[in-house]
């Protein structure tokens, strides 16, 4: 099993409240909340094309950060650069530093398997494995070498409880995950991401394929999960960003235009472009 210390914990050293451009922290984030994800002049290129342009932002630990902006603004590219999923795209390369805790995830020595175990990703469309509910959760831990049945049972139950799915599936753990509803499948995917004990959960439009009731459940779950995880969510639904996030980052044409407390962004944004996007007067 890989050493989980590859990605160290948050750097609680004088970087508190380093939230640009305003040094304001939401009431739900304690003033002492350290930064967990720290991007320093991060640029992402697809060949010659610069999709993300020198983005710097600091995401506090145990917070939810929403990324909003029109299609093609670079928000998903930035999100996927956090767990280096863009590495899989030919011609894609990254400049700048992206720290999780004190570790630059683009350092040469980084172990990608460990990185992706510690930075989970939930996609837009629920994508359970064509296996049982139990095996979906147990898949990652088994790959990591966990074979003790009791420990696996406990882990599966714990993850399903954290994903607010246990009560709905506890009597059918051995049935196919594909038989679950869309909302249940998405919560299963979140539970699966939790099974590898990540520090960070990335979510790329996790509710866009869900109905309002399932969306509500996933949103409640996001708010609960921030107690233990740091969550970054890309969403086109601005009301969702307003409902679940502590901080909001507005991207436009590859640039980070504004990053602030969500309440400030939605009541009194500093930047005219943010204002125009939030109020739907864009373009």
């Amino acid at each position: 099993m890989a050493d989980s210390s590859t990605i160290p914990g948050p750097a609680a050293t004088g970087r508190e409240n380093s939230v640009a451009p305003r040094a304001i922290v939401t009431p739900s984030i304690r003033m002492t909340t350290p930064t967990l994800i720290d991007a320093k002049s991060v640029s992402v290129f697809y060949g010659e094309y610069e999709a993300v342009k020198s983005v710097s932002l600091s995401i506090p630990q145990n917070s939810v950060c929403a990324m909003i902006g029109p299609s093609g603004c670079g928000k998903s590219t930035f999100l996927r650069s956090i767990n280096r999923l863009n590495d899989l795209i030919p011609g894609c390369h990254v400049k700048g530093e992206l720290l999780i805790g004190r570790q630059n995830v683009y350092a040469d020595k980084i172990d990608l398997v460990t990185l992706r175990r510690e930075v989970g990703l939930v996609f837009q469309k629920p994508n359970p494995f064509p296996k049982s509910i139990y095996d979906n959760i147990a898949y990652g831990p088994r790959l990591q070498g966990l074979s003790d049945r009791t420990q696996l049972d406990e882990l599966v139950e714990d993850c399903l409880r954290k994903a607010a799915l246990w009560e709905e599936v506890k009597d059918r753990l051995k049935t196919s995950a594909l038989g679950l509803s869309g909302g249940q499948q998405q919560r299963l995917c979140i539970a699966r991401a939790l099974a590898t004990k990540p520090k960070v959960l990335l979510m790329d439009e996790p509710c866009s394929a869900l109905d309002p009731i399932a969306t509500g459940k996933v949103e409640d779950l996001i708010v609960q999960l921030k107690e233990q995880y740091t969550i970054v969510i890309v969403t086109h639904n601005m009301q969702q960003a307003a409902r679940v996030s502590d901080m909001t980052a507005f991207f436009y044409m590859g640039r980070l235009i504004e990053f602030d407390q969500t309440a400030a962004i939605f009541t009194n944004p500093s930047n005219k472009q943010t204002e125009d996007y939030i109020t739907g007067r864009f373009g």
Binding site: M238, Q239, A242, I265, F266, T267, N268, P269, T274, E275, I278, T279, G280, R281
Partner: protein
């Protein structure tokens, strides 16, 4: 945001502008009835409040619908929440103007009423203040709004002086106590109108800047 939303928001602003014009007219007529001791004008003024009450309810419904159906944010959110508050302040201003008019009707029955100079000065100041307030809101004129907030201190000082003068006159001439008490009551309502103008001016500053300046005393 959709064209529908922008059209509906503009329509809401128009409705509030019309309501503020009605309220302004009502206040000017009630103050005029004080100056002229005109009981008939005062009665007309008091009765015209009904239209304002109806319009206030319509505006509130429309503003709540906009919030519920479009979930506005940023400057749109600040504007609509402020419209709801300003709408309420305007209705209260109209109520105060009606109170003034009703007091004039009572004084007219006593006969021989003449408004003291303190009260005339208060009336002129409040009418100007309301005019500036309405203009500041319609044009989202922050400097003018700050001027309105400062004007409230002038009205408070005038009211204080009026009360002192009237109490002194009540002590020296008990036969006219009702008239002098009436002047205090009129002054109190004018002072309340100035307070509501101040609230509206503070909302203008909020709409423009996003800053809530109430209770800060730093205009």
């Amino acid at each position: 945001m959709s064209r529908t939303f922008i059209d509906q928001l503009n329509d809401l602003r128009d409705k509030l502008a019309r309501l503020s014009a009605m309220v302004q007219h009502l206040v000017e007529k009630s103050v005029e009835s004080v100056y002229t001791a005109d009981g008939v004008l005062a009665r007309e003024t008091a009765e015209s409040d009904v239209r304002i009450n109806d319009e206030e309810v319509r505006i509130e419904h429309q503003a709540i619908n906009l919030l519920a159906l479009h979930q506005p944010a940023a400057s749109d959110l600040r504007l609509i929440t402020s419209i709801i508050k300003v709408n309420s302040d305007l209705e209260r201003i109209a109520d105060c103007a009606v109170n003034v008019a009703q007091r004039v009707m009572m004084l007219d029955q006593i006969g021989g009423y003449e408004a003291p100079s303190d009260l005339r000065l208060m009336g002129n100041t409040v009418v100007t203040m309301l005019r500036d307030t309405v203009k500041a809101f319609n044009l989202v004129d922050e400097p003018l709004a700050r001027h309105v907030v400062r004007s409230d201190d002038v009205v408070d000082a005038l009211y204080s002086q009026l009360v002192q003068d009237m109490l002194a006159m009540i002590e020296s001439d008990r036969h006219n106590a009702n008239t002098n008490l009436g002047n205090i009551m009129i002054g109190k309502n004018l002072e309340r109108i100035a307070d509501h103008c101040t609230n509206i001016a503070e909302d203008v500053i909020y709409v423009q800047t996003g800053h809530i300046i109430r209770h800060l005393h730093a205009v």
